[in-house]
Symmetry: C2
Subunit: 329 residues, 2 copies
């Protein structure tokens, strides 16, 4: 019987991602890879969308959350876990906790949409509202750790979370075959770090590119300077990518990622609409960020086989359906 | 060399649908069957969505249009074809014509959305606008037939179109395995007729149910009375189902369909939103009509294996993206 999860004091390795994939297989979907003749003809490349919008809880975040949760010791599981997130990681951790019977507490800004709080509570988690500042968030998490002995499962600055996120790219390589290029969004960097480690480990000649909103270009600036250069309260529709890079992901990204591209807000919306209309898939604005430079041909992909990680499909549909109801009911 | 397509003077048979499937295979997608644990838990059944929203041109209509087009004689192909449709059938016929080099003319009401006209023209068809009345539509079609020798490919009152539409249910049975119940929407009746013939032919004990908007319940009334009872200018968000039953589809439907269920406008919107949110798929309002009675548990499916034909995903996303642009750009 494990009492506590082992310290993770060596660099993350490809085998950690392989092991995460085997650990996660019984719990999550092997999501489909979608293609579009229209997109291929427009770009001259072969574009493969690894569609994690069809994943459990509607986003890849269940991979990292569940991989971390599955490696807790029994004492840690009994005491429970805590995280801070107003988005998909909170819901993913809540779902993982519900599956394993582990109490989950999510610290969430009071300003988070009611629908996100309800979704997180719907998976059985306890939501602790806090002021919408970094300080309030951290002090609440630290207080809960001190008072209740909870284990922090950080949304991206956690090796097991990074290993879990890398399993999406692992599947993509198995499903799509050899790729010349893999692009994925970068916010805190967990997905990009896991993706880069996986792709460079299995196919060293494949380029790995991160994509982020122009309005939150901290990864591009950080990769250029060699140290983390945070964005401060960036305004972008890509709500999953407002976060700045974490230390652990950055240590992997700076060694394994070829470059970072950015997309403006109009480009993000245009690419999102294209995917909705042509792929008939609901994707979050954050997923449109890596699609944009391919769709608008700023990133040349002619003759290339290109994988893009589509991260999630959790969008607030209320405005659209309110309008339809007003028109038809 | 065929000069003209043969007259179709015998009842449509299961083998016609099998042949249509083989004829269509090189041209169309074998669309996926999607499932949702949430929907299964909510209903107590196993629900399989045959997702023709992922089909070429975004709808099952390419099956019937292409099946009819592939059986034209060379002289008919050279003269070209005509249809009347402001929706998916017009786009589907235009695509089929583009593939085969057959000129396509689509008579469309002047009131049709510009986006639909543009989409049809985008596949190379000629759009002939007419007044938005049945008389204007028919007189324009008849004039084009008389003047240019065009062949009419009716959206649903055509045996080869019906045979083509039946191939979706054929694939569904292959993909999902034995089913207790198959539900599909009914407007003009081409899809329901093809589906019923396929399902009853291959699995006589499987029930086949048509679903239509309560506001356009002509199929329910027609099945009850035994003769076609049209709806007059029905108001429903399910724009694909405003049409009343055609003679040829009805001749099959009255022999092979077990019953017709209806959905109110709020029920249609509720089911459509559920599919968007949980399946992350964009479906048209018409597709939500057969989902509604299952989702809201008016049609008991506990313990049953249920197939639903999801007909298409062509939705005008402009209102949603206009709002997003206003908020973020």
């Amino acid at each position: 019987m494990k009492i506590d999860s082992p310290p993770f004091d060596r660099p993350l390795q490809l085998d950690d991602i392989r092991a995460a994939g085997e650990r996660l297989a019984p719990w999550i979907h092997r999501t489909p890879v979608m293609t579009s003749k229209t997109l291929d003809e427009r770009t001259g490349g072969s574009i493969f969308l690894k569609s994690e919008n069809f994943q459990k809880v509607g986003a890849f975040k269940i991979r990292g959350a569940m991989n971390a949760m599955l490696q807790l010791g029994d004492a840690e599981k009994a005491r429970g876990v805590v995280t801070h997130s107003s988005g998909n990681h909170g819901q993913a951790l809540a779902q993982a906790g519900q599956w394993l019977g582990v109490p989950v507490t999510v610290v969430m800004p009071r300003t988070a949409p009611a629908i996100k709080r309800a979704a997180t509570e719907g998976y059985g988690a306890t939501v602790v509202p806090c002021e919408p500042t970094l300080e309030a968030r951290e002090s609440n998490v630290n207080r809960l750790i001190a008072e209740q002995g909870l284990t922090l499962i950080h949304p991206f600055d956690n090796w097991q979370v990074i290993a879990g996120q890398g399993t999406a790219a692992w599947e993509l390589l198995d499903q799509a075959g050899p790729l010349d290029l893999v692009i994925c969004p970068v916010g805190g960097g967990g997905l990009l770090a896991g993706t880069a480690l996986t792709v460079k480990g299995r196919s060293p000649s494949t380029r790995v590119i991160g994509a982020e909103p122009k309005a939150a270009d901290d990864a591009q600036r950080s990769l250029a300077s060699g140290s983390i250069e945070p964005s401060h309260d960036p305004k972008t529709i890509a709500d999953g990518l407002r976060t700045s890079l974490g230390e652990k992901p950055f240590s992997i990204i700076k060694e394994n990622v070829d470059s970072i591209v950015t997309a403006t807000e109009p480009e993000i919306l245009e690419a999102m609409r294209f995917v909705w209309e042509r792929f008939k898939m609901i994707i979050e604005p954050s997923c449109a960020v890596p699609v944009a430079p391919v769709y608008n041909r700023q990133l040349p992909v002619k003759g290339l086989r290109v994988g893009i990680i589509i991260t999630g499909g959790n969008v607030d549909l209320e405005p659209l359906f309110a309008e339809l109801a007003a028109k038809w009911l």
